[in-house]
């Protein structure tokens, strides 16, 4: 761990101003950042501790949605009765992630910004374009079992590891930020993350010092919520594939569908072509098979992660079946 300066600003505005300086990182729960700092994968010169700021509330918004403070711990968010009732997919995604101890510390804002679990990103002896731009990608041509099959580039094939963000993507969350100049904005989650392209070290659209203050959820969308996470052990492992689904059926046809995917891409993945295909149709196994094919039509395996393509397909079909209350059959 490189020696660093530490500040504890009194307000969000002060934090954003402090954050603008090069080499600064915000720290809240620290569940990912501290590990990365110990390994010197990340070596910020300055930490701005926002953990004591007043951003820990979940409030009703005027439009009937919720505003979740950036510092709301994952455990509290998952247990909130409004979340459990109206945004069950989010509660389930949160509880599928990490461990109880980590969820007690990890925050809503921090979870959105957690870094990839790529083995090579974590090992400073290995080249990694995300850690050290221009050094190369050791995962390509190496062991890439947990890596992306969608949205990756020849510079980086790392995945985003969050479960929460996948549910947020399906829920069309908006990320409310405060910039160092005092301006605030709301970024739809669809625009929040960047694909790696040639700049895998740039992961979001946040500008230097821009502080996540809250995450806003639109009014409840109803329907049946499912979060299915497929992983290498029963608990405490990152998703190989995960699917967040909200499906509402009216008069025998799918009236609304929102689907997002984890473990497949450098960001919480969404493919609106699938939703368009489903809406207006009667639920049927053949339809789900077509939808699942669409999900992976542009997928590219890199060797050890080839299995994710059939796995994603099968998982999506099963989740659609479950969400549509179809009986599961092989």
């Amino acid at each position: 761990m490189r020696p660093f300066d530490y500040r504890r600003p009194a307000s969000a505005a002060e934090a954003a101003a402090d954050g603008a300086e090069t080499g600064t990182a915000f720290i809240a729960g620290g569940t990912n950042l501290l590990d990365l700092m110990k390994l010197e994968v990340m070596a910020p010169a300055r930490l701005v501790d926002i953990s004591r700021l007043d951003m820990g509330e979940i409030e009703q918004t005027e439009d009937g949605g919720l505003r979740i403070g950036a510092l709301v711990p994952n455990s509290d968010l998952a247990a909130d009765p409004r979340i459990r009732r109206d945004y069950a997919v989010l509660s389930r995604a949160l509880l599928a992630g990490a461990s109880g101890q980590l969820r007690n510390k990890a925050t809503t804002g921090g979870n959105l910004l957690q870094r990839t679990r790529c083995y090579y990103f974590y090992d400073t002896a290995m080249p990694c374009n995300k850690r050290q731009p221009g050094s190369g990608c050791a995962a390509i041509g190496g062991f890439n079992r947990i890596h992306a099959v969608l949205g990756a580039s020849d510079h980086c094939i790392a995945t985003h590891p969050s479960d929460m963000a996948v549910a947020m993507r399906a829920l069309d969350a908006r990320i409310e930020t405060l910039a160092p100049d005092g301006s605030s904005r709301e970024i739809p989650i669809a625009d929040f993350y960047r694909l790696p392209g040639q700049t895998p070290h740039l992961e979001t659209m946040l500008t230097p010092g821009e502080l996540i203050r809250a995450v806003r959820l639109p009014p409840p969308r109803g329907g049946r919520h499912v979060y299915r996470k497929v992983r290498d052990r029963a608990s405490y492992a990152f998703a190989l594939v995960s699917v967040a689904a909200m499906i509402r059926i009216e008069d025998g046809v799918i009236a609304d569908a929102a689907l997002a995917f984890g473990g497949l891409a450098p960001l919480p993945w969404r493919d609106t072509r699938i939703e368009a295909m489903l809406i207006g149709e009667a639920p049927a196994r053949e339809l789900f098979a077509l939808a699942s094919e669409l999900l992976v039509d542009a997928a590219q395996g890199r060797g050890s992660n080839d299995f994710k393509i059939p796995l994603a397909r099968r998982t999506l079909a099963a989740v659609l079946g479950e969400a549509c209350e179809l009986e599961i059959a092989a």
Binding site: G142, S235, L240, A318
Partner: protein, 733 residues
């Protein structure tokens, strides 16, 4: 006085069954348990010495070559830095178990990526770690590293002593009614003990004291002394508590030697703990294996031939190679036999002993192959195994000492409900889950080792047991106290057990499942001497001495033991030595594993739904700690079958998943309720306690019951361990 017992003939005295205290075998708690669960048991890294400095090891970041410069110019000016050490005496890798001398040394010659090449020492741990990460090591790399044991460039050795060719296997195979010819692979693994390797070194003149997490102190002392080029008399190692070893702490390892070198140099105690990544990279791994098993059988499923040909790997110049065929030698009959043992020399982290070296991986393949044969012949897998239990050791033609394998299979089947297993694979479902049941034999070679223990009867009539034997979470404190309590008629709380200090009589160390039997037999011998001394003092015959609850029972009187101690304390040293019975009898502990699994027909995920083990391991010394050992072993079996795989990057051999996030040990949710049952057995050929080793029995075959259950659930057999969902998807697609 001291007394030596050599196991040259069966010991029918059955001493423990004639004692009055009834402690041995009872499910007693560990006396040190409350200390451990309340954080008061002091582990190596927790010793607080005045003026202690902190050292952090630095890894080589190339796979093969020479270290030409430390690149420490920028580091020396950092705050708190006391020195950067890189020394010819540094260890390339830990010593192998019972090596008793230094392993390959030298920081300059790099043989694998992750090899410790330097130690940075500073006033604080954080300063040392940052400096260690800031060194600009310079190398002259070699281009001829070999990273894949299957590579044509790998140097392959076939040591004569490890091969077996008996009868005419090829002919038996050609003439057989039924054959199996299957190749299985198992990945490299890491013990992943909870306590990382750590040492604190302090010098007092020429005398070195080292607090370290080690399993075999009498060997470790010699290994450390030899590594440093000093007299072993000047080395003391203390390891009263060890947070798990599983083989990874058998031999002295790099942090200990580095700490000792630095401590001497700077004149302060130095504390070095490995990071979890370093534990994965710079201690011991279990070798990956490729195993071809061929079985030849008649129509009744009786084996006529068995061939087990395998390849394992290790660094150059390492004596150890995973003895994959160990159980194959003795478990099943068949007069035509072939074992081929190959070692590929590779530039990967050193391979060494991990819980049940040999059986843990060899039985995965052998027990899968037996299942394949049973399926082919339409014979129940339990029946097939029972038909193939030979009368005598099939290669050495000696009798078995005790072997209740058939009874374990039958008893386990009854308790597990084996009769409810459908005979046709792939036919039982529970929603999306395909359900299957599997069985496997358990077998682990029984080994004993020379052991010494001192037992003192104090003037208070209490007992003190002393040996440098370790308790690595196994229950040594509990068990040795029970044996001494039984022999001396003392309740458990009047026996104090002192372990883990090389100033005490040399024990056998914890490894090879020999600790309890060997050190327990030494305690037994010492106590037998004390009983004679006591009897002499009282003018009685030792055989007739009845001791219970701290009293001497004489006719109808109870005399407090304390009253007999007026003439001073009594002390005896018991020495136990393995003898002819280890050659005259094929000794092993046996059992049977049963597993029920569910396999998701959608994702290929496997969940173990229940698991049961029946075991016969001679006298059970403590029913609770023995049960814990078996549960732990079976949990290792779940990991081996389903989740654990140390991945080497084939481009440079480095371990890709060197942390607990990506090296997947089974977590609580992966481990179902595990039932353990012991069958009553005594083995008077094994040792005077009539006990056999149990620490490794619970893993030896466990994973095969799970993979056999997967085959039963799905009708498809995964021969590439672990059975992760991608492999099941591939057969289900």
């Amino acid at each position: 006085m001291s007394s030596e017992f050599v196991m040259d003939a069966p010991d029918p005295r059955n001493l423990l069954d004639h004692m009055a205290q009834d402690l041995t075998g009872a499910p007693l708690d560990r006396p040190e348990g409350p200390l451990k669960v309340s954080g008061r048991a002091t582990y190596a890294h927790e010793y607080r010495l005045g003026n202690c400095a902190y050292g952090v090891l630095v890894r080589a970041t190339i796979a093969k070559g020479t270290l030409t410069a430390l690149g420490d110019e920028a580091v020396r000016g950092l705050p708190g830095i006391l020195g950067v050490f890189s020394d010819d005496r540094f260890l390339r890798n830990p010593a192998q178990g019972t090596a008793d001398k230094a392993p390959v040394q030298g920081a300059q010659t790099i043989a694998y990526l992750g090899q410790p090449v330097a130690l940075v020492v500073a006033d604080s741990f954080e300063q040392a770690r940052h400096a260690a990460q800031s060194l600009a090591l310079r190398y002259a790399p070699d281009a001829d590293g070999v990273f894949d044991p299957e590579s044509d460039a790998a140097n392959i050795e076939r040591p004569d002593a490890k091969q077996r060719d008996q009868g005419d296997f090829d002919r038996a195979f050609a003439d057989a009614h039924a054959t199996v010819d299957s190749t299985y692979t198992t990945p490299a693994q890491n013990s992943a003990a909870m306590e990382p390797h750590a040492s604190v070194a302090a010098w007092d003149g020429d005398r070195l004291t080292l607090w370290g997490g080690y399993q075999m102190l009498k060997y470790n002392r010699n290994e450390l002394a030899d590594s440093l080029g000093i007299d072993a008399e000047n080395v003391r190692i203390l390891a009263p508590y060890v947070g798990g070893g599983f083989g990874s702490k058998l031999g002295i390892s790099p942090e200990a030697v580095a700490a000792a070198i630095a401590a001497r140099e700077i004149g302060r105690p130095v504390k070095v703990a490995m990071s979890r990544q370093q534990v994965f990279e710079a201690t011991m791994r279990r070798s990956e294996t490729r195993q071809r098993v061929r079985l030849a059988a008649d129509a009744q499923g009786r084996l006529t031939g068995i061939a087990h040909e395998y390849r394992v790997s290790n660094l150059p110049d390492e004596s150890f190679s995973e003895p994959v065929g160990q159980a194959t030698h003795f478990l099943y009959g068949g007069e035509n036999r072939r074992i081929v043992h190959e070692i590929a020399r590779v530039n990967r982290t050193c391979a060494g002993s991990m819980r049940a070296p040999g059986e843990a991986v060899g039985m995965l393949a052998l027990e899968n192959a037996m299942d394949e044969l049973a399926e082919q012949l339409g014979i129940d897998p339990i029946e097939l195994r029972k038909r193939n239990l030979p009368e005598r050791h099939p290669e050495q033609d000696i009798p078995y000492s005790s072997r209740m394998l058939a009874q374990c299979l039958d008893e386990g089947a009854r308790r597990f409900g084996w009769d409810k297993r459908s005979t046709k694979p792939g036919t039982t479902r529970d929603g999306e889950w395909l359900i299957g049941m599997g069985v496997s034999s358990a077998a682990r070679k029984n080994i004993t080792s020379q052991a010494e223990a001192r037992v003192t009867l104090t003037t208070d009539g209490d007992a003190v047991v002393e040996t440098d034997m370790t308790d690595i979470g196994t229950g040594t404190y509990a068990v040795l106290g029970q044996i001494a309590g039984d022999m001396l008629g003392l309740p458990r709380d009047r026996v104090r057990v002192m372990l883990g200090d090389t100033d005490l009589p040399p024990g056998p160390g914890s490894g090879g499942s020999w600790g309890a039997s060997s050190s327990g037999s030494a305690v037994l011998e010492a106590c037998a001497v004390l009983r004679r001394q006591l009897a002499d003092r009282l003018g009685l015959v030792a055989d007739g001495l009845v001791l219970r609850d701290g009293d001497i029972i004489l006719d109808n009187r109870r005399i407090p033991l304390r009253d007999a101690m007026g003439a001073g304390p009594l002390e005896a040293v018991g020495i136990f030595k393995p003898g002819k019975t280890s050659q005259d009898y094929a000794q092993a502990a046996y059992g049977a594993f049963f597993a029920e699994v569910g396999v998701s027909s959608i994702t290929g995920e496997v969940r173990v739904r229940r698991m049961l083990g029946t075991f016969a391991a001679g006298r059970i010394l403590n029913a609770k700690t023995a049960r814990s050992q078996c549960i732990g072993g079976m949990t290792f079996g779940i990991g081996a079958a389903l989740t654990e795989e140390l991945v080497h990057d084939l481009r440079d051999g480095h371990i890709v998943n060197h942390d607990l996030a990506e090296y997947h040990l089974p977590v609580n949710l992966d481990v179902p309720q595990i039932e353990v049952h012991f069958l009553e057995e005594r083995d008077d050929q094994a040792c005077p306690l009539q006990s056999k080793g149990i620490g490794e029995l619970g893993i030896s075959g466990a994973g095969a019951a799970i993979t056999n259950a997967i085959a039963h659930a799905t009708g498809a057999r995964i021969r590439t361990y672990p059975a992760t969902l991608d492999k099941l998807l591939a057969v289900m697609e």
